[in-house]
Amino acid sequence: MKSPEWLQEFQAQWGQLLRTPLETSGGVFHSKSRSNWKAVYAMIPETANAGISVYHFQYWTRLFNVLQKEFPLTAELMGHWDFNLLAQRYLLEHPPCTYALQDLAEYFETFLDKVTLPGPPGCLRQAAAWDRARQKVFAAPFTQAWNPQGLAVDNLFELTLKPCADWMIISEDWPLLDLYLALLADRSKKLSWPDRLLNAQTYLVQRVGAALVYRPLVQLQSRFYQNLQKMNLGLALIELEKKAQGSEADLHEYVRRWLQEGVVWGLWLSPIAETHP
């Protein structure tokens, strides 16, 4: 199934045309013909200038809209004009290369690390991390959570708990979750830069049914769940003891409670008991 020879060249030229940045003069994004589009114009009647502009404009606005939907809090905090200018720079570096529109956002967070952003330093990057976490958790594959009858498991401390795909832990130094929920409740709400929190707050973001829930975690609980992603229960507890203040008995009681909560919330797949030689 070999394509006619002219097709490759035609499509290369058209693609180059589409990826030409939109003009921003006059405070609006618009398509303006460029001299390097001549090769494409050679294939169409001269009256087609306006028609080509429709495709050019559609290409960019569609991609802007996708990124705005993937990063709603980031876009609202920045303002859509500035967000789209940034998105245009990003898309020139990372033009879409798969049929799935959601893949477009893949490198956006990494891109943000390289650019100067407005607002309190670090705030927009955290907003982007929140946006990405929500998307990833929501779109995660379904996994059957471990649902034991109580926690009467032999060799409890040797258990390795593999996390289900539908949750993440995320911390914030600004009240970004509150801002996002306010935005959800009223899309017309104009957001302003938030004040920094006195203490960082950590949440477990989880998909429950077809909705997302946000569970506030104390610092040790968050550390415990994160440790469990890397080591067995016994080692996670030892790591926690190194950081914790207060009595060992208290800590063990907390850990038991956090473990039970984790099971009730459906955080883990059926555990694999490690076998030691």
Partner: protein, 277 residues
């Protein structure tokens, strides 16, 4: 494999009306799902699709096949498509007679090519291959377009009909696209209809469009079907009906009852009832 009733009236499946849909399960003959919204590992979209499929037939309509792209067909995409089609037991699967990307990049738009003789066999061979891979009927849809090409050697309807005849596949006839292109390029939409082999039409699409300031029509799917498009639909029905009819509404989506009322207008224009329902 279930077949659609030739008088069936269907609706493009959109997440915006899921809540209303799941609460009321209205009388709709079938839904059409956008393929790319349900590929990948994400669980909630699949779960929702299964809920819809448990009540209604579901046909699949893609935007990412890139049939007229110079690049090789994406086998991983086709594999996903086959799996999805099997999972909903789609009466048919469709995509567009267009290209959507080249040189490893995706433009996420339905782009036209010149209608040249040397492209016919390429298009037909690829379309036949897709149908064979699917093991179920496959159809191509006509585009709306904003440019024509000096290189074209035949009309769009000659090209469209020739490809589906050579590939021995079905047609999705988008009446709104015919109307939009006829106004943009100055051809007679009824001449287009007269050339259609209606025995190959598996479904007709209806949608709204937008008129730009310069008089150009853009296929936006963001409003009710225009009177002129309804009249063209009535002509198509007289020429080649009955055929399943589907309403697409992708942006500024109103409530489900408004969508259903718009869909029911089809019964008036094809002469089933004497007043607009």
């Amino acid at each position: 494999m279930e077949r659609l009733h030739p008088h069936a009236l269907g609706l493009g499946l959109r997440t915006e009306f899921y809540t209303e849909l799941f609460a009321s399960w209205p009388a709709v003959d079938y839904f059409e799902a956008i393929t790319e919204n349900f590929t990948g590992a994400a669980w909630p979209p699949r779960e929702n699709l299964e809920r819809v499929r448990s009540r209604y037939p579901v046909v699949l309509h893609g935007v990412g096949l890139n049939l007229l792209g110079a690049d090789a067909l994406n086998e991983a995409y086709l594999e996903e498509l086959c799996r999805l089609a099997d999972s909903v037991d789609a009466p048919f699967v469709s995509d567009h007679l267009c290209w959507t990307g080249s040189h490893g990049l995706s433009h996420h738009d339905l782009l036209p090519t010149p209608y040249s003789r040397d492209l016919l066999d390429f298009a037909a061979e690829r379309a036949a291959y897709v149908q064979k891979r699917l093991g179920r009927p496959f159809a191509l849809e006509n585009l709306s377009s904003y440019v024509t090409f000096a290189r074209s050697e035949m009309t769009e309807w000659e090209f469209f009909s020739s490809v589906v005849e050579r590939a021995d596949i079905g047609m999705i006839l988008d009446i709104n696209n015919i109307y939009v292109s006829s106004q943009n390029h100055g051809f007679d939409a009824k001449e287009y209809l007269a050339a259609i082999p209606f025995e190959r039409v598996l479904q007709v699409h209806l949608a709204g469009h937008h008129s730009q300031g310069d008089g150009r029509l853009v296929d936006t799917h963001d409003g009710p079907v225009a009177e002129a498009v309804w009249n063209l639909y009535a002509s198509a029905w007289k020429l080649g009906g009955p055929f399943p009819t589907l309403l697409e509404w992708d942006s500024k989506i109103p409530s489900l009852p408004i969508l259903l009322a718009e869909l029911q207008k089809a019964r008036f224009y094809r002469g089933d009832v004497y007043e607009i329902p």
